[in-house]
C-alpha cells in the first residue's frame, strides 16, 4: 500500500472527486468539501484499532491496514501532518520485521518445520531458558509475523487518524474547562521552533567573538542570551494575550468555584477507583463499572460547570453532524463486528501456527472490512485539497514578498 494519490486520478484528488460530487449533491450537504470533526476520525481509528487487537489472522489485519490507507489517501488534506502517514507505514513494517528477527534470535525452535539450522550460541547457566539462535522453525517465524502484524495494524490505524485529523483543531475542540491547558500547548508548540532559532543565532554570534563553541563556558555564553531572549518573548506574548482579552472570566461566587473544583476532583478520584475495581476481580462489584460511570458523570458535570466560567466563543468550530456520527459509527461497528466474529468463530480469528494452517476469511470478517472502509466514501472530501500548498511555494504571489520567503521570520536578514 503506497501513500500516494490513487493512480490515474489526475493531478489532484479533487479532480477525481468532481463527478461524484455532482452525482451525490442531491443527497445532502455532507458532500461539500469540508474538514470532518477530528474527534470523528479518532473514534473511527480507535474502532479499527480495537478490531485489529482482536485478531491475529493476517488476512483481516492486512485488509484493515489497506482500508485505513485507502481512507487516508481519499480523505486527507494537504497539511504537513497528513503526509506523516507513510512514516506510520514504515514504522509498522519495522515492527513486523523486529518481531520476526526476535523470534529468529531468541526463537526456541518450537515447531516441526525447521527451515534452517543456525549455530546455537551456548549461554552461561544463569541465563537458562534463553536460547540464542539454533534451529529456526516456520511456526516460530509465523507466530512472530502474526504478532507483529497485529501491532503494526493497530499503529497504522492510529496513524491514519493522525493524518486525517488536524491535531490543532482537536485541541480547539476540548471542553471549555480545559481551554487554558490547550492554549498552553498551542503556545508551547510555537515557542519550540523560536527557541531553536535563537540558539542558532546566538551560537553564530558567539563564533564572531572567537569562542570555540564547546564546553561549559560556551554553554553559558549561549544559554544566557537564549534564556533572556525567551523570557523577553514570553513576556511580550503574555502582554499581547492580556491586551487582547485573554482570561476575561465571568464573575462567579467563590462557593460555586469550590463546588466545581470539588466535583472534578471527586470525579477523577472516582474514575481511578472504578478502573481498579473493574480490573481487580476481588473487590466488591459496586466498586467496578457502576463506580466508574458515576465518577465519570461527576467529573463531566464539574467540567461543564467550570466551562461556564470561561466566557468565550469559537471561530468556525467543527460541528458534530450526521456525517461525523456515521464515520464514528463505522469505527464502533468495525470493532463490534470483529468481536462478534471472534465469539462466533474464535479459531478463525486466531489461526493456530502449529500445526501450520492457511488463515481463512469468514463473511463476517469481510463485512467488518467493508464497514471500516466506508468512510472513504461517507466522509466529505477534504476542503484543503482544493488549495495548493501555499506555504511550500517558492514565491507566494504578493507584491511585498521577497526573494526568500522562508527566511522572512523575525530576523529576516539573518543567514542560517
Amino acid at each position: 500500500m503506497t501513500d500516494r494519490s490513487p493512480a490515474g486520478s489526475g493531478v489532484s484528488p479533487r479532480l477525481a472527486e468532481a463527478p461524484q460530487d455532482a452525482r451525490s449533491a442531491m443527497t445532502g450537504t455532507g458532500r461539500l468539501p469540508r474538514a470532518l470533526h477530528p474527534g470523528a476520525w479518532w473514534l473511527w481509528a480507535f474502532g479499527l484499532a480495537t478490531a485489529a487487537s482482536h485478531t491475529t489472522n493476517p488476512l483481516p489485519l492486512a485488509l484493515l491496514i489497506a482500508a485505513a490507507a485507502l481512507v487516508v489517501v481519499r480523505r486527507r488534506g494537504n497539511a504537513p501532518w497528513a503526509f506523516a502517514f507513510r512514516l506510520y507505514l514504515v514504522l509498522g513494517a519495522v515492527i513486523v520485521a523486529m518481531r520476526v528477527v526476535f523470534r529468529l534470535v531468541f526463537g526456541g525452535g518450537q515447531g516441526e518445520h525447521v527451515l534452517l539450522h543456525l549455530p546455537e550460541i551456548p549461554l552461561p547457566a544463569w541465563a537458562a531458558g534463553i536460547r540464542l539462535f539454533g534451529p529456526v522453525a516456520a511456526e516460530q517465524l509465523l507466530g512472530g509475523f502474526y504478532d507483529g502484524l497485529r501491532l503494526a495494524a493497530m499503529l497504522v490505524c492510529l496513524g491514519a487518524a493522525n493524518a486525517l485529523a488536524n491535531p490543532k483543531r482537536l485541541l480547539k475542540a476540548v471542553p471549555g474547562a480545559l481551554y487554558a491547558v490547550s492554549t498552553a500547548v498551542v503556545v508551547a508548540l510555537s515557542v519550540a521552533p523560536q527557541l531553536v532559532e535563537s540558539v542558532l543565532r546566538v551560537r553564530r554570534a558567539r563564533r564572531l567573538r572567537g569562542a570555540a563553541g564547546q564546553g561549559l563556558r560556551a554553554l553559558r555564553g549561549i544559554a544566557l542570551p537564549v534564556l533572556a531572549d525567551a523570557l523577553d518573548r514570553s513576556l511580550a506574548l503574555a502582554a499581547a494575550m492580556d491586551s487582547r482579552g485573554y482570561g476575561r472570566t465571568a464573575a462567579i461566587p467563590a462557593g460555586q468555584r469550590a463546588l466545581t473544583g470539588g466535583l472534578v476532583l471527586a470525579g477523577l478520584v472516582g474514575v481511578c477507583v472504578g478502573t481498579y475495581g473493574l480490573l481487580d476481580a476481588t473487590v466488591p462489584g459496586y466498586l467496578g463499572l457502576p463506580m466508574l460511570l458515576a465518577a465519570l458523570a461527576t467529573a463531566v458535570v464539574g467540567m461543564l460547570l467550570a466551562g461556564r466560567r470561561v466566557h468565550r466563543s469559537r471561530y468556525r468550530p467543527d460541528r458534530w453532524r450526521i456525517t461525523e456520527l456515521a464515520v464514528a459509527g463505522c469505527g464502533a461497528a468495525t470493532a463490534a463486528a470483529m468481536m462478534a466474529a471472534g465469539s462466533a468463530d474464535p479459531d478463525r480469528l486466531y489461526p493456530p501456527v502449529s500445526p501450520l494452517t492457511w488463515p481463512e476469511l469468514t463473511p463476517l470478517m469481510l463485512l467488518t472490512i467493508v464497514v471500516a472502509v466506508a468512510p472513504a466514501w461517507l466522509a466529505p472530501p477534504p476542503a484543503l485539497a482544493a488549495k495548493p500548498a501555499v506555504e511550500s511555494a517558492p514565491n507566494p504571489p504578493d507584491g511585498t514578498t521577497r526573494s526568500a520567503p522562508r527566511r522572512d521570520t523575525r530576523q529576516p536578514e539573518t543567514p542560517r
Binding site: R204, L208, A228, R312, S313, R402, R407
Partner: protein, 543 residues
C-alpha cells in the same frame, strides 16, 4: 477618547518617575505621534493607555487614565480589549495562534462574539488590510511587513476605538514601512480610529500626524501641533532641520510642503558649488570578494557577488529585506556559509581568507556586529564583557574599555549589558569587536531602534573608524543615515548587486533611495542638511 489626569508613573527600582503629572486629552479620530529619545517613557505612555502599565509591568500609577469612560484602575488590559488594540514592536512575539485567519479571530473569541459576527469581521478585515491572499499562510512564513499588517488586523477585528502602535516600522524596509503606514492612515481617515503611534524615524510619520507628543525625558510631555512642537526640540527629521536652516515658518512636515517653499532656496544655491562628491578611494582594497555564492535549502541568498572594499571607505549596503545583505556580510566574515567564491583580506598579516582561519583569528581580519548586538554579550557586567574581550583578542587589559569610552564616554562599568539602551549596547558590542583591531568592520542593521542623537553619534564613530584606515560596511534601510555617512552605496536585490556607485550617484538616481533633502532640492545634487547649511554659509548673507 483618551484622558490622562495628573498621571505619574513610578517604577519601583527607578529613582525618578517615568512620567510626571501628565495631563492629556486625545480626542476621537486623531493620529497622535509619540516621539522622544530612547528610554524617555514612550512605551510607558503607550502601555498606560490600555492598563498594561501598571497592571502588567508593575510600578505605581498615580492619577487616572480613562479610555472611553473606563478607568484603567478598575479595568485590567483584558477588560479594555474591546476598546484599545495594542500592537507591539515585534509582531511575531505577540502572535498566539499560527495561521493568519485564526490570529484574526483570536481576539474576538476572547470577547465571546457570536460565530457569525466573527466570520464576517474576519473577511472584512482581510480585505481592509489587503491580506486576503494570506489567510491560510502560517504566520512565521510571512514577511515583516505582512506580519505587522496581520498584527494590526488581529486587533482591528475586535473593533477597538483606539489603536496603539509601538514602533510599528522599526524592523521594516522602507517599502514595507510605507505599506504599514499607509494602512494606518487609511484606518484613521476611513474608520475614524484614534491612533497613538510611537516612532523613532519621525520623517516617516510626522506628516500624517494631527498631534505630536514629545517626551523630553524628564517625565513631562510636550503636547501640540507637530510643526509647533518640532520647532524647538533637538529631535528633528531632516526636513525640519532644512526648514530651520532656511528660516521657514511654519516648518515643513512633508516633502511636498518643503518643495513648494524651496524654489527660493534652490535659486540661492544655484550658484553655490555643488557638494563635493565623496573622494575617490582608489586605495588598496582591504577586502576583495569574488563570485560569492551563498545558498540555503530552497533559496539562493547571494548569487555570485564581486565586491572590493578599499581601506578608509564607508560602504552602505542597501536593499529590501531578504535581498541577501546579511548573508553576504556573514559570508565575508567567514562565519556564515559560502558555497562558491573567494574572500581575501589584505591586512598586516598579508592576504588571508578568513574562512580558513579558526574563529578566534578570523575576527582579527574581519569584525562583524550582528543585527541583534545583544547576542554577542553574555556576561553580567559591562566591565566583565570588556575584560573578556581583551582576553579573547590577546589585547592589553583595558583596550576594550578605552575603545568603549571613545564610542560612548562614561558608561558605568557595573551595569548589566541588557539594561543598556540600544545605542549603548551597540557601542559595547562594537567595542568588543574592535578590540581585535580588524582592518574590515561589518555592521548589520546597526541603527535599528536608535534615535536621531544616537544615530548622529554612531555616524561620527563610523567616520572615525574609516579615518583610521578601516574598511567599513553598514547594511541598513535608513536612507537618511546613508546620506550622511556613506562614501559609496551598494544596492542588492535577489542576491545580486544591482547598483554600485558613490552615495550621490546611487541616491540621486532613484526616488526610493533618495533622502528627503534630495527630494526637496532636486534636480540640484544636495543630499544632507549639513551640505546645504555649509553652502548657505558660503553663499554669504541670504538676499
Amino acid at each position: 477618547m483618551i484622558e490622562f489626569d495628573r498621571v505619574t508613573v513610578h517604577y519601583a527600582e527607578a529613582r525618578e518617575p517615568m512620567l510626571r503629572e501628565v495631563d492629556l486629552h486625545i480626542p476621537e479620530g486623531e493620529l497622535c505621534l509619540v516621539a522622544g529619545r530612547t528610554g524617555a517613557g514612550k512605551s510607558t505612555l503607550l502601555r498606560a493607555i490600555n492598563g498594561l502599565v501598571p497592571h502588567f509591568t508593575g510600578g505605581t500609577l498615580y492619577g487616572s487614565v480613562t479610555v472611553q469612560g473606563r478607568d484603567t484602575r478598575s479595568h485590567p488590559p483584558r477588560d479594555l480589549a474591546d476598546v484599545v488594540g495594542v500592537v507591539g514592536q515585534d509582531p511575531l512575539a505577540g502572535f498566539v495562534t499560527d495561521t493568519v485567519e485564526e490570529e484574526l479571530a483570536y481576539g474576538m473569541e476572547q470577547l465571546a462574539l457570536p460565530a457569525s459576527v466573527m466570520r464576517k469581521r474576519v473577511e472584512e478585515t482581510l480585505d481592509l488590510l489587503g491580506i486576503a491572499e494570506l489567510r491560510d499562510r502560517p504566520l512565521r512564513t510571512l514577511s515583516g511587513g505582512q506580519q505587522q499588517r496581520v498584527a494590526i488586523g488581529a486587533v482591528l477585528t475586535s473593533h477597538p476605538q483606539v489603536l496603539v502602535l509601538d514602533e510599528p516600522t522599526s524592523a521594516l524596509d522602507p517599502t514595507a514601512a510605507e505599506d504599514v503606514l499607509a494602512t494606518v492612515t487609511r484606518l484613521v481617515h476611513d474608520l475614524g480610529v484614534t491612533v497613538v503611534v510611537a516612532e523613532h524615524r519621525l520623517e516617516r510619520v510626522v506628516q500624517y500626524a494631527d498631534r505630536l507628543l514629545y517626551l523630553p525625558g524628564d517625565g513631562t510631555v510636550v503636547d501640540g501641533e507637530p510643526a509647533a512642537v518640532l520647532a524647538d526640540i533637538d529631535l528633528a527629521p531632516p526636513l525640519v532641520e532644512l526648514g530651520r536652516a532656511a528660516g521657514w515658518a511654519p516648518l515643513p512636515l512633508s516633502v511636498r510642503d518643503a518643495r513648494r517653499r524651496a524654489a527660493n532656496l534652490r535659486q540661492r544655491l544655484a550658484d553655490a558649488t555643488a557638494p563635493p562628491t565623496a573622494p575617490a578611494h582608489d586605495g588598496p582594497p582591504a577586502l576583495t570578494a569574488r563570485k560569492i555564492v551563498v545558498r540555503y535549502p530552497g533559496t539562493v541568498a547571494v548569487a555570485g557577488v564581486d565586491l572590493d572594499l578599499p581601506a578608509g571607505q564607508v560602504v552602505a549596503l542597501m536593499g529590501r529585506n531578504g535581498s541577501g545583505k546579511s548573508s553576504l556580510l556573514w559570508a565575508l566574515q567567514g562565519s556564515g556559509p559560502r558555497q562558491v567564491g573567494t574572500v581575501t583580506v589584505t591586512g598586516p598579516d598579508g592576504a588571508i581568507d578568513p574562512k580558513t582561519l579558526p574563529a578566534g583569528r578570523a575576527r582579527r581580519q574581519v569584525g562583524l556586529v550582528p543585527q541583534t548586538p545583544g547576542d554577542l554579550l553574555y556576561l553580567e557586567r559591562v566591565d566583565a564583557e570588556c575584560a573578556q574581550a581583551d582576553r579573547e583578542s590577546d589585547a592589553p587589559a583595558g583596550t576594550c574599555r578605552a575603545l568603549l569610552d571613545q564610542l560612548t564616554p562614561g558608561l558605568p562599568g557595573d551595569q548589566h549589558p541588557r539594561d543598556l539602551s540600544e545605542g549603548q549596547r551597540l557601542a559595547l558590542a562594537l567595542a568588543v569587536q574592535l578590540t581585535a583591531a580588524p582592518p574590515v568592520v561589518l555592521l548589520d542593521e546597526p541603527t535599528r531602534g536608535l534615535d536621531y542623537l544616537a544615530k548622529r553619534q554612531f555616524a561620527a564613530v563610523v567616520r572615525r573608524l574609516a579615518g583610521e584606515g578601516r574598511a567599513v560596511v553598514v547594511a541598513t534601510h535608513d536612507v537618511e543615515l546613508v546620506a550622511t555617512l556613506a562614501d559609496r552605496v551598494v544596492v542588492m536585490a535577489q542576491g545580486e548587486i544591482v547598483a554600485d556607485g558613490t552615495a550621490a550617484e546611487v541616491m540621486l538616481a532613484s526616488p526610493a533611495f533618495a533622502p528627503q533633502v534630495a527630494k526637496v532640492m532636486a534636480p540640484e545634487p544636495w543630499l544632507t542638511v549639513d551640505q546645504v547649511t555649509t553652502a548657505l554659509a558660503d553663499a554669504g548673507t541670504p538676499g
